[in-house]
Symmetry: C2
Subunit: 232 residues, 2 copies
């Protein structure tokens, strides 16, 4: 049975979002909760990528997902069915989440037993990039049909992201998308950003993404990364 | 030779955007300028659709295009090369344009000889929907890879649009996109909205879009619509 609640998020009252975000991050560190902020355009495949990720990692770590959306609850329903603890956050028309709103979401979700919390931000390449949510890492999904020039047109989004998943690689033959150029443009905005080509629908490239996520969660929680090949 | 200028847009100072928008619309009526506000997600094909539209209609009417973008000038370059008067508007990180900002753009563009002015809004399904730009009609592009559920998730955008172009119809076989459902969801938000399936890259369905635009421009300018078959 799917089970999730819907939370109406209130506008934050804090003067400094950066301070509030740093405070939230420190609390998460203390609790051993890794918070990932996942951003993208509408329709780039955030929910499908999340569903796959939950299925792959749910036996290794307890996952909680906050689905931020303006109005609907279709995503929380899907995520809950995939086996994660889920909560739907209604932003009431607001185009982004800041740290105060994220804190409300985490409280609604309940992080007592959660090791990996994921915030699926509002589908938008502009506003979410401007607000630190308190997340440990920022990830974004750019899908092949959107075009490889997006880092030129939405600079801040690519600048703040630690990892860029290039999704829908299965339709590459039907689009004018140059992965090499895309990677070059991403690195121009943020030389440290990792670019991982994936196809959430077919599973292609997803192991590299799970590997990145696993390493980041373990490092944050102070756990040693197990050698994948068993020689320890 | 391409020729366009770049204008840095300042934040508006007007207390009521709705009033300012109504005032701008009245002025445009007086001048016989039809202003179209074109919105969409990043990468849905706004610029390609516009390029095609300019090529098809530029001998019938004088077209001017305002390319709103956060930082780059790639779109104004493309549009100018297609044969329209173009100006690039830099929004300085802002995620939308309101009526005051649109007025600055129109002044920068110069509307003396323009019959059809098009504002290519910032790629974003949330914020642009909240601000009346003063446009006569709102159009949006939803591309097939984004999914048919977008009217459920971005209600206001579909509510304010007079016409929805469903773009990239050529890749329909590769995506889980149901045009009938999409149309149903659009009508749920706005029963009067027209849905026109197109492929800007191949030209499929574009005649229906040109027909819509031609009729709207002529009606606004008080011109009689010529019968397409020549029996007048």
């Amino acid at each position: 049975m799917e089970s999730f609640k819907i939370l109406e998020i209130r506008q934050s009252v804090f003067a400094s979002n950066d301070e509030e975000a740093a405070k939230l991050r420190a609390e998460l560190k203390e609790k051993g909760v890794f918070l990932l902020n996942l951003m993208s355009s509408p329709g780039s495949g955030k929910t499908t990528t999340l569903t796959r990720t939950i299925e792959a990692l749910k036996d290794e770590m307890k996952i909680g997902v906050m689905e931020a959306d303006i109005d609907s609850d279709v995503d929380a329903r899907t995520i809950s069915a995939a086996g994660a603890k889920a909560i739907q956050l209604h932003t009431g028309g607001m185009c982004h989440l800041d740290a105060g709103m994220t804190r409300q979401g985490l409280e609604g979700l309940g992080t007592g037993d959660v090791e990996l919390a994921i915030l699926e931000n509002v589908g938008n390449l502009v506003c979410p990039a401007e607000f630190d949510t308190g997340a440990v890492k920022n990830a974004m999904i750019l899908s092949v049909p959107e075009g490889h020039d997006k880092p030129l047109k939405y600079p801040l989004m690519f600048q703040v992201c630690d990892v860029v998943l290039v999704n829908k690689m299965d339709v590459l033959p039907y689009f004018n998308f140059d992965l090499e150029k895309c990677t070059e443009y991403v690195k121009m905005r943020n030389p440290k950003a990792q670019v991982i080509p994936i196809c959430a629908a077919t599973g292609e490239g997803m192991d590299a993404w799970y590997g990145w996520l696993r390493r980041e969660v373990r490092a944050w929680r102070g756990e040693e990364t197990k050698k994948e090949n068993g020689h320890e």
